[in-house]
Every structure is written in structure tokens, then in C-alpha cells.
């Protein structure tokens, strides 16, 4: 029995696990303060992505469209971007940065958005908005390349590349979180605070867990500033938690500004959080404080209540963004569970060379399949037609009907999780995330035992 890595054996997609690049760039863009992206393409590329993110966060936020219509598709649509940027700037006086996010249509017609940036910098911005400091950048995210994961990766890099500027050393670290939730950012900042480390967080999206205020004035938006981005060049180190979501930005900073850099591991579970703290300590020289020893102990105490009694040998399928899936699989293994199927979104050929995947291949002692460029049919077909038996599914809401139709308990994790309340508020990273995840999994299994009357009496005494 071994761990096999395979590419999906069909050309098409039946129920996609991931969406396309512009969605990733849009998610990155809302993490930046005073930033409204303009997506250069058809209106659906924005309208539905806003809806998707809004379903997940239960919040609204601004992203604009260049609204390419038929004439633009035929004759070129750069003029639409120019007009769109002018309209945005005229109506939103606080905007400081506008990323132009391309899509499949505008990449196919070959609109020169880099040229638009230059043109506007020399024209419109000087003529009409000379009193404002407006920054434009082009982010190329054709939908037919990569996925939302690479779109996010590219966008973070492009933002960093645009703004990072050598100055005085700032004694901070750069923490590039990858595609996470407000709850994750909160947990990560908590760990940094305990370590007494000052960090620039890309991106400060904790603010998306936002209030309703008596005067009705609250808004939801990310809080990473241009100054934060500029200062990334002056950090004493960079940690990118996710290899595939933010890794490119970390590499850019390392290469350009010679900043010591560690990419990964995704701090999901005890072991990976230990590694994260170890890396923080190595990069900053700051000790791991007793408070975190205790916090880790609280998590281990919670895990111990559940692992060998309830979780051992439970077969799990996990799908979603690659770093998340790998991190969850590693955690499950520590919990004595058996991840039997990992579905990694998109056609990235380098997943197979990921050291974490290699470690799985070298050490897993039961049958595990890892599918790349996977879709939901890779999961459902195995259950429906090939006899795959699962105890649990870990993944985002788009897979909900597999859980429902085949009566397999599921813990929602990743993006998007619109069919469960408030998940964006909770972390999956850090010791806090470990507790949250293990208890979610256990409670899902408990509910399932009761729902199926499968040894439900077991829980009478526990």
C-alpha cells in the first residue's frame, strides 16, 4: 500500500473545486486599504466573484469592472479601463491604489494594460489627479492559466513588486499568510504578539469580521496599507506560510532585497505550528514564551480527549487549495486518521515535487491517492462507482452535495464556506486552529453517529 500521485484522467471538469485566476487576484486586492481593483473583462468576472466572496464572509466590499461589451471585444477595450479608472477616482476620493486585473477575454484580445498604466500615469493622473498619490498596476491573470490559487499568488507578488521600496531596516518580519480567513489572521497575530514580534501582515483581513454600528457607518475592507507594502523591503525576514499562495512574493523579496526567507509550512496542526514558531525564533532570535507552551498544552489536552478514542483510522477525503489540503492531511496523520484521498486544485505540475508530498509518498503505510488538477467527480465517482468508503470529508462548501447525497459527515474548511455560519471567524492555523479543527471533526462524527444510530450510545459516557 502506497501513496500515489496522479493527474485527473479526464480532460474536462465535472464540478470544479476551484475557480480561475482573476478571483484570486480580487481576493488579494480587497486586503489592501484604499484599494479598489478594476477587473478588465466581462461584468460576470466581478459580479460573481464579489458574490462568492460575499457569500463566504457575509460582507460586502468594492471591486469594479471595466464592463467590456461587444465593441470592446472586437476593437480592443483599453479605453474602458481608462474611463473606469477615471470614474473610480472621481467618485472614491480615498482611493490610493487601483490594480487592473485582467481576465481571459482581455488577454485573448491582447489589450495592453501595462501601456494603459503608463499612459494614465503620464496623462490622467498628472492632469486631473495631481493632488493625489494614485498608484496603478497591471496584474495579468488570464483565466486559462493556473487557478484562483495562482491568481492570488501572482497578485500578492505584483503588489509587493509594485510597492516594496528599500529604506531603513524596520526590524519587522513579513508574514505572508496565503489565502486565509479573518480568524486565521487573528490567530497568527496572537502568536506573533506572544512571541513579541512585530510583523507586516499580508494581508490584514481580520477587519472583514466587521461590526454593525449604531450609526450605520461600518464598512468592510482589508487594512494593509501601501506603506506596509513599501516597508516589506526593509524587513529582517519573510515567512510565507503557504508555498502556493504568497510564495512568489516571498521569493521576490528574497531575490531583490536579500531578505532571509522561509516558505512554509502551513501552520495547521500542532507540529506545523511548532515549526512556524521555530522559524520565527530562528529568524528573529526571540524565544518561544511559556505562554505558548501552555497554549500548546491546552490544544494537546483537547486533542488527546479525541484522537485515539474517536479519530483513529477514520478515513478522510480532503480537497481545496493545495497548501490547505496538505496541511490538513499532515494534521490528520498526527491525529491517527487516514487521509485516503487528497484532491489538489489546478494543473500545477510541480505539486509532485513538493517535499511534503514526497514525505507522504515515502512514509504513508496505507493506500492514499493524491489527485492533481482534480474536480469533484474524482471524489464522487470513487464513492459512487468505485467503492471508496469515507468517514469524513474536509473541504469547502461547493462539495456539499457529495456529503449530503452519500451521507458522509463533512467539516467545512477553506474557501468558500458559505453553507455554515461564521466559519471565517475561526482559525485553522496555530494551536487555536488545531483545537477548532479537531473539535469540529469530532462533533461532526458524533452528530453522524447519532443521525445514523451507529453506536450513538457510546457518547453516554465520555
Amino acid at each position: 500500500m502506497t501513496c500515489d500521485v496522479k493527474v485527473k484522467d479526464r480532460v474536462g471538469t465535472i464540478n470544479p473545486i476551484f475557480t480561475c485566476q482573476p478571483a484570486g487576484a480580487q481576493f488579494a486586492s480587497i486586503g489592501i486599504k484604499d484599494c479598489i481593483g478594476i477587473v478588465h473583462g466581462g461584468q460576470g468576472c466581478v459580479m460573481f466573484v464579489r458574490l462568492l466572496i460575499s457569500q463566504h464572509l457575509k460582507e460586502s466590499f468594492e471591486i469594479a469592472s471595466s464592463s467590456v461589451h461587444e465593441d470592446g471585444a472586437v476593437f480592443g477595450a483599453c479605453g474602458r479601463v481608462e474611463e473606469g479608472i477615471d470614474v473610480l477616482l472621481a467618485r472614491y476620493p480615498n482611493i490610493r491604489v487601483i490594480p487592473i486585473i485582467t481576465t481571459c477575454s482581455t488577454e485573448v484580445i491582447g489589450d495592453d494594460v501595462d501601456g494603459v498604466v503608463t499612459k494614465l500615469e503620464e496623462g490622467l493622473l498628472k492632469e486631473k489627479y495631481a493632488d493625489r498619490d494614485i498608484q496603478l498596476l497591471a496584474i495579468h491573470t488570464p483565466s486559462f492559466v493556473g487557478s484562483m490559487v495562482t491568481g492570488y499568488d501572482v497578485a500578492v507578488r505584483d503588489f509587493v513588486k509594485k510597492f516594496a521600496k528599500k529604506g531603513e531596516p524596520n526590524d519587522k518580519i513579513n508574514l505572508i499568510t496565503g489565502w486565509v480567513n479573518p480568524g486565521d489572521v487573528k490567530e497568527l497575530k496572537h502568536l506573533l504578539a506572544e512571541m513579541d514580534i512585530d510583523a507586516t501582515v499580508l494581508f490584514e483581513i481580520e477587519s472583514f469580521d466587521s461590526p454593525m454600528m449604531p450609526d450605520g457607518s461600518a464598512v468592510s475592507h482589508g487594512n494593509t496599507t501601501i506603506e506596509d507594502l513599501a516597508d516589506t523591503a526593509n524587513a529582517k525576514a519573510t515567512i510565507a506560510l503557504n508555498r502556493y499562495e504568497g510564495g512568489k512574493a516571498a521569493q521576490y523579496l528574497e531575490k531583490t532585497f536579500d531578505i532571509p526567507t522561509i516558505i512554509g509550512p502551513t501552520p495547521i496542526g500542532i507540529r506545523n505550528t511548532d515549526s512556524f514558531l521555530h522559524n520565527l525564533k530562528a529568524l528573529t532570535g526571540k524565544p518561544i514564551p511559556p505562554s505558548l507552551v501552555r497554549e500548546r498544552g491546552v490544544a494537546l489536552d483537547a486533542l488527546t480527549d479525541l484522537t485515539h478514542m474517536f479519530l483513529a483510522d477514520k478515513k478522510v477525503a480532503i480537497y481545496g487549495n493545495p497548501d490547505l489540503v496538505i496541511g490538513l492531511a499532515e494534521f490528520c496523520l498526527d491525529l491517527e486518521m487516514k487521509p485516503v484521498l487528497l484532491l489538489l486544485g489546478d494543473d500545477n505540475a510541480s505539486y509532485v515535487d513538493d517535499p511534503r508530498i514526497k514525505a507522504l509518498r515515502d512514509n504513508v503505510d496505507y493506500g492514499m491517492e493524491i489527485i492533481t488538477n482534480a474536480d469533484f467527480w474524482d471524489l464522487e465517482n470513487r464513492i459512487k462507482n468505485e467503492g471508496l468508503k469515507l468517514d469524513l470529508i474536509l473541504g469547502h462548501s461547493k462539495g456539499r452535495f457529495i456529503s449530503i447525497d452519500y451521507d458522509i459527515p463533512m467539516v467545512r474548511v477553506g474557501f468558500p464556506t458559505y453553507d455554515r455560519a461564521g466559519l471565517y471567524r475561526h482559525p485553522v492555523v496555530g494551536y487555536g486552529g488545531a483545537i477548532w479543527l479537531v473539535e469540529q471533526m469530532a462533533n461532526a462524527l458524533f452528530t453522524d453517529m447519532e443521525h445514523k444510530k451507529n453506536k450513538e450510545w457510546l457518547l453516554n459516557v465520555w
Binding site: 480532460v11 474536462g12 471538469t13 465535472i14 464540478n15 470544479p16 476551484f18 475557480t19 480561475c20 485566476q21 478571483a23 479598489i36 478594476i38 473583462g41 466581462g42 461584468q43 460576470g44 468576472c45 459580479m47 460573481f48 458574490l51 462568492l52 460575499s54 457569500q55 457575509k58 460586502s60 468594492e62 471591486i63 469594479a64 469592472s65 464592463s67 461589451h69 461587444e70 470592446g72 471585444a73 474602458r80 474611463e83 473606469g84 477615471d86 470614474v87 472621481a90 467618485r91 481576465t103 481571459c104 477575454s105 485573448v108 484580445i109 488570464p142 483565466s143 486559462f144 492559466v145 454593525m212 449604531p214 450609526d215 450605520g216 457607518s217 464598512v219 465517482n381 461547493k398 452535495f401
Partner: protein
């Protein structure tokens, strides 16, 4: 012209022609905004694209079909699981979506081969499904793939399957409405008349422009079946692909959402002489009139009247319970298209609320004509609204509730205005007599939520009523009501079930005798 200029839009003067306030003495010749024009880029409009109008609004509610989008994966993913068009076959069309997953190499070398492989793979994965719709997207339109040729090739090789092709890329028009148009005409040209339906009644209709949101179609079908009417097809909610190929044999097209589906009705009228009857499935009076009209057309108005009498007797006292409590509440009716006119008058007349604003994201001037006609003086009508204008309008109008989409609903939430989902509904269906009460119930629950009262309290400044452990909706809604109404033995709150639709699927209907032996033998 009583144009309304938003402060926030003064810098884009052309927006001025897209909003009007209906003043005293204004009529349609003096008060109508522009509509269905190209969107001004950068306004943060709420419009979608022509692909979603075709695929997501009209195509995918068809229930027994593999719906495949030819393009990169995003169009498919992003439109998947964002609507509530259910069906009575275990929601196949909600659960499964297909993308050809076009990549860079296909953009360079063409994607027809990968399309064909996709089609075959999809039929193989679902051997019980023999029907398919293929939707072009921006990318495959621009590279010029001949989707029809590939579909024909497959149909030649697999005679048991039938494939419909819709060429409606995202950029084809100012909004999703461009896609509604394209798929209407494409379906008519490609598929109508290619299958002869079995006629089982003297009274045969198509129910057009109805997408079975939360079961709306099934509610209406129940009425039609109680009248002994054969509904040949529904365009397209909960409908079978093959049923829609037989649309040409109906005696009457009953049209609900004229915005998205009038084109096919107009063409069926022109080509086959089938009359178009516009109806409203919302509101007791409008719905009653609609059923009566369909009945009159076939000379069976007594059957319609029986339904109206029975349903009205059952549900009217419940509707009125809410009406007493919703009087003069200010509503922003901010849907996508047709609901602005389906609801504008009916909610005022039958629920007592006041519509202070209507808008349409993707409607045409024709929709605004209907909407403006149906709302009262002082209403602000906005075409192709945008984020800042909506916020300005809410600050100006101070509505008690808004009916709009999910994401704009989040904007309203922050401004402490409760919202109901106008597209997908909160706890629908909203069509039918019972549905209309459900709608009133949802409005009541939104407006009188004790949480909205709490959210207005600034505990740092305001007096806190520390003696209260709770407040109920009734404590809020009944405070100003007369004792007579409060303790009315007739008026009651909604009594229906959480799921008012599933039971309909098991219902049986009386056999009505057919007029002649010849027609019975058809």
C-alpha cells in the same frame, strides 16, 4: 423630465438620465430613465454578463440536462450554487456543472477537440442523461471555436443524444439581459419543433419565464393541474429539455417574466400564432386575475374561480394579519428585472407597504415603464444602480426594508436596513396565494426583528433599558394597533409548513373529461 441627480454621480453626468423621481402628474411620456445601455465602467454597477444571463438564469434551470460551459473553469464555478432553482428530480441541475477547462494551449491551438472529449466524458459519467446544453464563454467566442459543428459531430456519432448550443459570451450586451435574448432565440431556432409532444388535454399551455425559484413553478403548476390544463413545458424552471422542444404545440403561452422570456413568446406568436398572455404569479388579486384569464381562454373560468375562492378563503386572513402590521413601511424594491413590476403595486395594495424606490439591474426601459406605472408618487426609479448611489438613496429614503440581492443586502446590513433576497427569496416560494403570505411573513420578520432595534442603540451614549430581558416581534409590531385588530378572531399569522412545496409533488389531480373522442384519442 424629473431626473434625479445623485450627489455621488455628479462627476458622471450621463448617469443623470438613469434615475427619475415620479412626481405629481408625471406619466411615462415625461418620466422614464434610460435603460439597457452600455455600463459606465468603474461605477461598481451590479450587472452581470450575457453568459450568466443565458446559462445561469435560463439554461440551467432545465433539470435533466448536462450543462457544460466551453471555456476556462471560472465561469462555471462562479455561477454554480448561487441560485435556488430547484427541481423535482433531486436537483440534478443544481448539483452538477461542467466546464471544458480551456487552458492556454487551447487558446493558442483551438479548443474544439477538447470540447468533443468533454462532451463524451460527460455523457459517460452520467449515462442516464441524454441531453446537453453547451454555453460559449468569452474565451471560446474570441478564439472562434465552432461549437455547433462539434455538437453536430457528436450527435451524428451518438444518435441517442441531443445537444443545444448557446453562443452568448459574457461580453455580448450591456448585461445578463443580452444572454436572455440570445438563448431565447437560439432555443427557438434550434430546438422548438424538433419533437412532437403527447397532448393529453384540451387545454395546453407553455408556462414561460418561470424558473422555479424555491418551487414557484411547482406552486403554479398545481393550480394549472387543478384546472385540468396540460402544461407542455415551463421555460425553463423544473422543465425537461424534451418538453421544451414541443413548445410549438401549445394553445397559449402564459408569460411570467417578460424581461427574460418575452422574445420566445413573441416569436412563437409570430411564427406559430400562439397568443402571449402576460400574467403575474404574485399577489392575490393579480394572481387571481391571471388564473381567471387562463381559464377564460379555455372556457373553464369556473375552475379558476373555484381555486381562487378556496385559496383566498384559506390565506387571505393570514395575509391581512401581516398587512395590518406592515402599513406604511417604506420599501426599496431593488431586484434584477421583472420583480420591480410584479411586486410594485401588489405589495402596496395587499400588504400596505409603501414602495419608495424601484431599481433594475439589467432591465430595459420597458421594465421601467411597468415599474414606474405601478408605483406611486415620489418613488425614485434607478436604472443600472451602483454602490454609491444605493447608499445615497438609502440615506435619503430611510427604508424599513429592502428587497435585493445577497451582496447588496450586506451593504444594507451595515447601514442597519434589513434586506430580503429578491432573486432567491428568503423562505419562499413567494408565488401562489400561500407564497404571497410567506413573503409578507418574511417582510414582517425582517422589519420587526428585535436585533435591528438593538443595533441602533449606542450603549456608550444612549439610555439602556436595563429592565428588559427580551422583546418580541409582536411587542414591536402591535404597539400601535387597535385592540380590535390585535385580538381579531379572523386574522392569524402564517400557518403553513417550512417546506410548502415537496408535498405538491405527490398530489393527484382529478381527470377531466375531454370534449371530443377524437381529441381524447390524440
Amino acid at each position: 423630465m424629473p431626473y434625479h441627480e445623485f450627489e455621488c454621480s455628479k462627476v458622471i453626468p450621463e448617469r443623470k438620465q438613469h434615475a427619475v423621481i415620479k412626481g405629481a402628474g408625471e406619466d411615462l411620456t415625461s418620466c422614464l430613465p434610460k435603460g439597457y445601455l452600455n455600463t459606465i465602467p468603474g461605477t461598481i454597477s451590479e450587472r452581470g454578463c450575457a453568459y450568466c444571463g443565458a446559462k445561469h438564469v435560463i439554461g440551467t434551470p432545465m433539470k435533466d440536462v448536462i450543462h457544460i460551459s466551453h471555456g476556462p473553469v471560472g465561469c462555471t464555478y462562479d455561477t454554480w450554487q448561487t441560485k435556488r432553482y430547484i427541481s423535482d428530480n433531486n436537483n440534478f441541475q443544481l448539483k452538477y456543472t461542467f466546464a471544458t477547462d480551456v487552458k492556454e494551449k487551447h487558446i493558442v491551438f483551438g479548443a474544439e477537440k477538447v470540447l468533443k472529449q468533454n462532451i463524451i466524458e460527460a455523457f459517460k459519467a452520467f449515462p442516464e442523461i441524454k441531453r446537453m446544453t453547451i454555453y460559449q464563454t468569452c474565451a471560446t467566442a474570441l478564439i472562434g471555436d465552432d461549437i455547433e459543428a462539434v455538437a453536430q459531430e457528436v450527435m451524428d456519432e451518438m444518435p441517442e443524444v441531443d445537444i443545444f448550443v448557446c453562443n452568448s459570451p459574457g461580453f455580448a450586451g450591456p448585461s445578463q439581459s443580452g444572454g436572455h435574448h440570445k438563448i431565447n432565440i437560439a432555443w427557438l431556432n434550434q430546438k422548438v419543433g424538433t419533437l412532437e409532444p403527447k397532448i393529453t388535454s384540451d387545454y395546453v399551455i407553455n408556462y414561460v419565464g418561470e424558473y422555479n425559484i424555491q418551487g414557484d413553478q411547482e406552486v403554479m403548476l398545481d393550480y394549472f393541474h387543478r384546472m385540468g390544463i396540460q402544461v407542455l413545458s415551463t421555460f425553463t424552471g423544473n422543465s425537461s429539455y424534451d418538453d421544451l422542444r414541443g413548445m410549438h404545440r401549445a394553445h397559449l403561452n402564459v408569460l411570467e417574466c417578460a424581461r427574460s422570456a418575452e422574445y420566445i413568446c413573441d416569436e412563437l406568436r409570430a411564427r406559430y400564432g400562439i397568443p402571449r398572455l402576460d400574467i403575474d404569479g404574485f399577489g392575490f388579486e393579480a394572481l387571481g386575475n391571471s388564473l381567471k384569464k387562463v381559464g377564460l381562454f379555455f372556457g373553464i373560468e369556473d375552475r379558476a374561480q373555484a381555486i381562487i375562492d378556496e385559496e383566498t378563503a384559506k390565506w387571505k386572513p393570514q395575509l391581512d394579519w401581516y398587512k395590518e402590521r406592515l402599513r406604511d413601511k417604506k420599501v426599496c424594491l431593488w431586484p434584477g428585472g421583472s420583480k420591480l413590476w410584479h411586486w410594485a403595486h401588489a405589495i402596496q395594495a395587499e400588504m400596505g407597504v409603501k414602495v419608495v424606490s424601484v431599481y433594475t439591474k439589467f432591465g430595459h426601459q420597458g421594465d421601467m415603464e411597468k415599474g414606474i406605472s405601478r408605483c406611486g408618487e415620489g418613488a425614485l426609479a434607478i436604472d443600472d444602480p451602483n454602490e454609491l448611489e444605493n447608499q445615497e438613496a438609502m440615506r435619503m429614503l430611510k427604508p424599513d426594508v429592502i428587497f435585493t440581492g445577497k451582496r447588496p443586502g450586506e451593504v444594507a446590513k451595515k447601514m442597519r436596513v434589513p434586506y430580503l433576497n429578491a432573486h432567491a427569496y428568503h423562505n419562499g416560494p413567494y408565488k401562489g396565494f400561500e407564497g404571497w403570505v410567506r413573503f409578507a411573513r418574511d417582510i414582517y420578520n425582517a422589519i420587526y426583528s428585535p436585533i435591528y432595534q438593538l443595533s441602533g442603540l449606542d450603549i456608550s451614549k444612549d439610555e439602556i433599558a436595563a429592565d428588559k430581558g427580551f422583546v418580541t416581534r409582536r411587542m414591536l409590531s402591535d404597539a400601535g394597533l387597535s385592540d380590535e385588530i390585535k385580538s381579531s378572531p379572523i386574522l392569524t399569522e402564517y400557518t403553513g409548513k417550512y417546506d410548502s412545496v415537496t408535498d405538491l409533488r405527490a398530489k393527484t389531480y382529478p381527470e377531466f373529461e375531454r370534449k371530443t373522442a377524437a381529441s381524447a384519442a390524440e
